[in-house]
Symmetry: C2
Subunit: 250 residues, 2 copies
DNA sequence: CGTCGCTTTGATGCGTCTCAAGCTTCGTGG
DNA sequence: CCACGAAGCTTGAGACGCATCAAAGCGACG
């Protein structure tokens, strides 16, 4: 998955511009773009942060794909969310001392770390920005609930369709979808971790979706042949993503 | 379920006192306790707010039990969280225009509504309080993720044990547990809605838990006979609840 | 004292898991 | 440039967990 965030724009400015319900003032834009960012690369399959960590900084995904996941003590793994470029997935560490999930690099990853202290200072001076970031964390909660519904109340076939619909909309919103096709660098085993099924069953369901003519997935790229039909199968309603108007072309 | 919130304390003061990581200043306490509250009663099974609503106020549960739930368009219902007295379950409406879930009264319910405007004014004057309420919404997100893990990665028997462990800890934190026993006014059908299984299967799992000597559930009251064993079965680790020290006696 | 909602139990079927084996792809070293 | 190994994909057979359908028991309340 290639970088989609312009190098000349501070990632937090980008994020807030796409999420906030107001236009940034000059002072706010200045405060955001002078936040200190430490850029770090991670290899695929590395953990960026781990459950029970006590982070002292938040981070934005600059390029690549990241995944929030939890595991039962018994070792069963569940991916809770994927993070696309521009996302700030561990903002909760600013207000909750200990992390209740891990975040790993699905692909090679470029990450921008911002110290908690700088964020707190910024929020004191610019309370509207605090509200905007609060909003981003609420949207993440909304995604978590939709995943809980999807994974416990839909069978594997519509469940997978739903995941593909969500990813398409979210990747499209950051310009990573071309002609109903986007990079999806997940193994079938990893897809199973997200959907709560085994890789064997992922394979069979994928075959069904392929045979229905809805999608093809190969070479780490998903192509949707019939967006409307896929949405119908998935019962997909994007309300829970809380996108603003025109964030998505679909 | 009887009221546990003292009538003479403003519910929002109560909530923040149990959640915030700092001691309230006099001004902050004053601001909270002068928030206008409109108390309203709901009968069991009524909806307090519905998915796609655009609320203009938040509310605190004063007494009774409430449930956040979503349904698929096909009609399958999933409870995402239970709310005990003191909780403020729809705080996200302050920052997200349209609700992505419904909240219903499980039992008869007493609710205190507070207008968004009053909250926004308070947050402008007292930014630390905004941080404290932000924290409460993050904790809800954490619960949603744990439920997603529980419902998709544990089988019905440990899954139910996990739900009981969570409810016991959270109800204990608000003083509603006596001698490892608490009110649990849910039908087996409703338990199925929370656990993602049918009421028939709830009945069989409940029987197993009873036969194991772990619990009894009758007359709307759950008694845990062996807390340690129930936790072991459930692989229960309360970290995700983000309680502060001494919030729970267990 | 009959009715209605809830609980309990049985029989059968479906969705997904588990185990197992063969196949494809691709990167690496000879 | 080919051989090989490792990782991932594909497919089959049988087992298991939970759903579904159905019916009978129980308890509370008018």
């Amino acid at each position: 998955m290639s970088a989609a965030i312009q190098a000349d724009t501070h990632p937090f400015v980008r994020k807030i511009e796409t999420v906030a319900l107001f236009d940034l003032s000059l002072a706010e834009r200045e405060a955001l773009s002078t936040l200190p960012v430490q850029v770090t690369r991670f290899d695929a399959h590395q953990d960026v942060v781990k459950e029970f960590d006590r982070p002292t900084r938040c981070f934005a995904v600059l390029s690549g794909l990241a995944a929030t996941y939890k595991t039962t003590p018994e070792g069963r793994r569940q991916v809770m969310a994927y993070h696309v470029p521009g996302d700030v997935p561990d903002f909760q560490s600013l207000h909750l001392e200990v992390l209740d999930f891990s975040i790993s690099a699905v692909t090679d990853l470029s990450i921008g770390f911002v110290p908690h202290g700088a964020l707190r200072t910024m929020f004191e001076d610019h309370p509207r920005l605090a509200g905007a970031f609060w909003r981003t964390t609420l949207i993440e909660g909304s995604l978590a609930r939709e995943w809980a519904l999807n994974n416990s109340r839909r069978e594997a076939y519509p469940r997978m369709a739903h995941l593909f619909c969500e990813l398409m909309v979210r990747l499209d919103a950051v310009g990573l979808v071309q002609e109903d096709s986007f990079a999806l660098p997940l193994t079938q085993y990893e897809l199973g971790d997200a959907l709560g099924i085994t890789s064997v069953h992922v394979n069979r369901v994928l075959k069904e979706l392929r045979d229905s003519g809805l999608i093809t997935l190969s070479g780490g790229r998903l192509t949707v042949h019939d967006v409307a039909a896929l949405r119908t199968v998935a019962e997909f309603d994007p309300t829970y993503l809380h996108l603003r108007r025109n964030d998505s072309r679909r």
